[in-house]
Amino acid sequence: MSRLTKKIIAIASASAFVSSAAIAADLTVVSWGGAYTKSQVEAYHKPWMAKTGKSIVSEDYGGGIAEIKAQVESGNVTWDIVDVELSDAIRACDEGLLEQIDHSILPPAPDGTPATEDFLPGTLHDCAVANIVWSSVYAYDSSKTRNWNKPTKMADFFNTKAYPGKRGMRKSPKVTLEFALIADGVPVSQVYDVLGTEEGVARAFAKLDTIKDDIVWWEAGAQPPQLLADGEVVFSTAWNGRVFNAKNAEGQSFEMVWDGQIYDLDLWVIPKGSKNKEAALDFLAFSTATEQLAAQASWISYGPARASSVARIGTFHADPSIKMASHMPTAPANFKNALQNDFEFWADNADQLNERFNAWLAK
């Protein structure tokens, strides 16, 4: 008997040990980590916690809808609100993995414009509300003395003669294929038409073939600044906000090339069956209000999804001399040759192009 008692005590103490680990949070917010999550914590999480007195647990993930699907289908939803890309939001919504969002809960602009008119076109969806516009660009470290002219074009990224060295690219056909076509001389307005044909796909892969041996593939958004800083690569595709923060908050001397940038939305979605749906909706409405979206823009150079917020963009938190407006993907100087990610194209062709991309990688 005494042995059994000992065992019970051991188990009980062990469970007490872990129960302190089980965090009792009122809301679990999931986002992409790094500087981006930090901007959201500062602009959304902290004020919301102060206002409601509730607690938030912030989790990082790497994108995609696999985890959401797993949680919803297992009936054990631990994520309450998730920051996703547009094509994923649409797909998850079509598969019934997300809660529908009634747009009337979104607060109007300070001047009284209803939210449905204040949000930029294409940023409100049945199951998703956009918060920011972000962009894929490529960047380099200007502190490393190199014997070349400043790169200015997407084509320069693919020019290994004039710009020798390794290049970082995201391990995904999305954006990568578009970049290849833009570099190959396809005007941004025709990229998806060309990519929709067999010849176009072959052309994109042929262009990638020219630098294949020089590519270092990255998977998480925090990697490109690291790769550049370590000197592992001379160029890397990256998310513009990450590069901006590495430069202005961490003192790296990175430069971005905006030519051929591909911009996309990040949206809030609520997995179906979230245990804290009310809190999630309240957080969603709070964080996408004019003031919060504008506040976030002072932490990272991603453009707010509301017209009224765009007008209120201020200066960088770490350096008030930097006006954030000119660093947004949508700033006129940066927007000259830009392409919007076509979520419908990717919804249709992601499986097929992923397969081809993987086959191409393995060759």
């Binding site: 469970s15 040990f17 965090i23 949680q71 289908e73 297992s74 009936g75 631990t78 998480a220």
Partner: protein, 304 residues
């Protein structure tokens, strides 16, 4: 070192020492990667290589900052003054601290489960009366053989349907299954050399089945059980594939935390954690060796 016999030729002398050198290099290949991690984890710079300062043993080139980072990472107020509040902050919010707690909790639970079930099964399997012994044995050992990705994917798929994925119980069950083959193998090994006449002697002296088991069999198989348990524990403690598939962030373990660290931002904090894990495995290895010796002594075997 063994003396070479007098009839050894010069060629054999040369070969003898060349062979030793080759073996030395292979031992170096085995051990060097593990040893290299240790000094690098004290690097003051966030690099994975020896700096000049480190090579000239400049104390300023070494620091404990990455060990501090294990505690600080994820804290609410990492720069607050050291005290009870700071300790409770790191205990409750530190990402690595959470992973450490999870690893031990899941590891201990899985070990208890797999050791209890595995020991019983090994005793049953060692009896000659057991029907279909070979078939059952091969099924029970198979978790060690089936590729982890298939196991983890199957569990993810099946546990999701019965609401076990993303729970502690699900992860513990997965780890327990993965640990049982080790318990069976080690306990069976101690039972193979078990002298049946001891049982008969105990019975002829009037002991019942339970008493015989407790007083005669148990002490003899205990070293096997404990080393099987250690194997089961290290299996759970080191396992990451099942955790990747089955666990939610709440159940993150040390290897899972290292996995995302390596994939996303490989900082020397990982090396600091790695160093701690190497120390842990040295401790486990020592315990195991002591157990082995004890077992041999008890069973009267002098050389292995």
């Amino acid at each position: 070192m063994a003396k070479l016999p007098p009839y050894t030729s010069t060629g054999e002398y040369i070969w003898h020492y060349t062979f030793r050198v080759i073996c030395g290099l292979i031992f170096l290949f085995l051990i060097l990667p593990i040893l290299v991690v240790l000094p690098l984890s004290f690097n003051v710079e966030p690099y994975f290589s020896f700096t000049e300062g480190m090579l000239s043993f400049d104390p300023d080139a070494y620091s404990l900052r990455w060990y501090e980072d294990i505690l600080r990472n994820g804290m609410g107020a990492p720069d607050a003054p050291f005290g009870w509040a700071w300790l409770s902050d790191t205990w409750n919010n530190g990402q690595w601290m959470r992973a450490i707690r999870n690893s031990f909790f899941i590891g201990i639970c899985a070990t208890l489960l797999s050791t209890a079930l595995g020991t019983l099964a090994a005793i049953g399997l060692s009896r000659s009366e057991m029907p279909y012994r070979r078939l059952i044995m091969s099924i029970l050992i198979s978790p060690m053989i089936v590729p982890l990705v298939i196991t983890a994917a199957g569990m993810f798929y099946f546990y999701s349907q019965i609401q076990l994925s993303q729970t502690y119980l699900g992860v513990i069950m997965a780890h327990a299954v993965l640990g049982t083959p080790f318990v069976i193998i080690t306990v069976t090994a101690t039972l193979v050399g078990f002298d049946k006449s001891l049982v008969r002697a105990s019975q002829s002296l009037g002991a019942g089945a339970v008493t015989t088991f407790r007083k005669v069999q148990m002490p003899l198989i205990i070293p096997g059980v404990v080393s099987g348990g250690l194997f089961a524990f290290i299996t759970s403690f080191d396992e990451v594939v099942a955790v990747l598939f089955l666990a939610s962030p709440e159940q993150r373990t040390i290897p899972r935390q290292m996995w995302s660290g390596i994939r996303e931002q490989i900082s020397p904090t990982i090396l600091a954690v790695a160093t701690l894990l190497v120390i842990l495995s040295i401790i486990l290895l020592t315990v195991l060796e002591l157990l082995r010796r004890r077992s041999e002594r008890l069973r009267g075997i002098t050389n292995s």
